[in-house]
Amino acid sequence: MVLDPKMKQAVIRRTVRKFAEEKLVPAAAEMDEKAEFPARVAEEMAALQYFGLEIPAAYAGAGLDSVSYAIVIEEISKASGAMGLCISVHNSVSAFPVYEFGKESQKQAFLVPMAKGEKIGTFCLTEPNAGSDASSIETTAVRDGDGYILNGSKIFVTNGGVSGLNLIFAITNPSQRGREYSVFVVESEREGLEKGAQEDLMGMRGNPVCPIVLNDCRVPRENLLSEEGQGMRIALSTLDGGRIGIGSQALGIAQACLEASIKYAQERYQFGKRIADFGAIQGFLADMATRIEAARLLILRASSLRDRKMPHSRESAMAKLFASETAVDAARIGLQIHGGYGYSKAYPIERYYRDAKVCEIYEGTSEVQRIVIARSLMNK
């Protein structure tokens, strides 16, 4: 019997939404205000397999397809951008590369606890002098007997404050500086790894983003993911999935903006009628909804290509670019609909406004996405 995949995805969306409305919606404002990660909710999410979304059941994951994965991230992000960010990064750019590139022993040692949510993962590429230009990282890994010694600084590490395992990108062949880098899985408790104070960010404040410093941090050879010099390949292949995650996250925030705006527009009376009855407001809502639906379709397109193991770099870049700009736009218009009240903390729209912005920045800025798309158009 051929099953309609949409049936499964509808149930997954509903299941996640119910959880998010029950556990995350009530926590989201406080997470933001106190810049606090909700450890208890995260534990519940771990038990429900939110930390092993695309990881097969053999490694303790949920074994979801990419389309379902995108739906999960969207629904979680709709309730809390910061938690959406946590599971997007953990799943797509931390656990997934360990699954894709790890040896069996590494999967047992690192992937299983990640999928169970016992160890939250990070993706440490960004450095003070290496952002969009990822090839200019300065962190080094020097061979030392049967291991490596790592030195360098990583910044803006998502999930940093609560991480158990960290994917560290480091140069292994300094003579080919910038080109030959490798990825190491480094345990947070390893000597020589230090976490800095949580960044005081504009949005996504419930995520414990912090710097990670490596100071003569010695790791055994077993912690090298794949082979030496495979860093670029791992980064590029991982980021395709990561962009679907960030796109879905932006989509969730945009959807939250739309729903909040629809609600507010029907509650707020001015000039003797609901502001929803004014043409200008209706136009705002119609444009928001249309762009959101288009973003959702782009994400569906990229993730279904990924499910069929077909190339999806361009489509992921398009989905990420469009969804994040849609989110920023939806937050801007949504706040405008809310008027003065939208500018206060009495309504969640100001949080969405702050959370949305970073979607245009991390895991490849909008400008970088445009480069990826443009190159793919001309390299035919």
Binding site: L3, M7, K8, A10, V11, I12, R14, T15, V16, K18, F19, E44, A47, L48, Q49, Y50, G52, L53, A57, G61, A62, G63, L64, S68, V72
Partner: protein, 268 residues
């Protein structure tokens, strides 16, 4: 203990639209969920299975798409799912529905020890199917239970009725319908959902498998027909009171007392 849980897929919306020609609820384009009280019945079955062992079968009568609800039940922990589906079942009232479900249950070998249903559904709200099913199967029934225990090879159940709490001791096999408050259904792990849609098995039984005649079921087997279906006009009227805050407060307190929401002592 072998338990059958009867579930129904219902529209997930408070704004139900009505097809005025056919006198039915419009289900197209509306997301469907497991009727919330049926989900509570399933959760009760999962709790009992955890304590007593046995097997849980979930059953629903409906169109092909009801399979979604059954797979969700499999993900929640049911062992077996049966979809009672046949074009001949369409247009059934609660009596004809009970007949089909009863026929399916009586075919089960071994016959279940316990049948659980939600007390009523959020779409049609009749509360008929559970009791009618018990009558069809000639089983003892308790409706609207809020607690279930197994003691000395019998069920001890509590029921709230007309403001009284009743406790019943019921012998097996039996049928219970469950009320809000019996439990809080657990969240389903995502991997279990994936598995239920990937390899979960849903049996399909129709007229042939149940050995039923077309005139016994569906529209022709129904004892009732819906003559008219409409939304009654809302008669709620607001009352606008004006005056100083003192007058307003006094007025409000008097109102609350007259509605027995506040005691006169409290009002003082």
């Amino acid at each position: 203990m072998n338990i059958v849980v009867c579930i129904k897929q219902v529209p997930d919306t408070p704004n139900i639209r009505i097809d005025r020609e056919r006198m039915t609820i419009i289900r197209d384009g509306v997301e469907s969920i497991i009727n919330p009280l049926d989900r509570i019945a399933l959760e009760a079955a999962l709790d009992l299975k955890q304590k007593e062992g046995g097997k849980i079968s979930v059953l629903t009568m409906g169109p092909s798409q009801s399979e979604e609800a059954l797979r969700e039940a499999l993900a929640a922990g049911a062992d077996e799912a049966i979809l009672l589906t046949d074009p001949g079942f369409a247009g059934a009232d609660t009596l004809a529905t009970s007949k089909v479900i009863a026929s399916a249950i009586s075919r089960m070998d071994p016959f279940p020890d316990l049948i659980l249903c939600g007390k009523q559904t959020i779409d049609s709200d009749t509360g008929h199917v559970g009791p009618q099913l018990a009558e069809e199967l000639n089983l003892p029934q308790v409706c609207g239970v809020t607690e279930i225990h197994v003691e000395m090879n019998a069920l001890v159940v509590k029921q709230l009725s007309d403001g009284f709490q009743n406790t019943y001791r019921v012998s097996f096999p039996a049928l219970l319908t469950v009320s809000q408050g019996l439990n809080v259904p657990r969240h389903i792990p995502l991997g279990d959902l994936e598995q239920a849609f990937l390899d979960g098995r849903v049996l399909r039984w129709g007229l042939k498998e149940l050995d039923l005649r077309p005139e016994e079921v569906g529209f022709s087997g129904s004892a009732t027909t819906v003559v008219r279906l409409y939304r009654p006009p809302q008669k709620r009227k607001g009352e606008v009171v004006s005056g100083s805050s003192q007058t307003l407060a006094e007025h409000l307190i008097a109102k609350l007392v007259s509605l027995s929401i506040l005691d006169e002592d409290e009002a003082e």
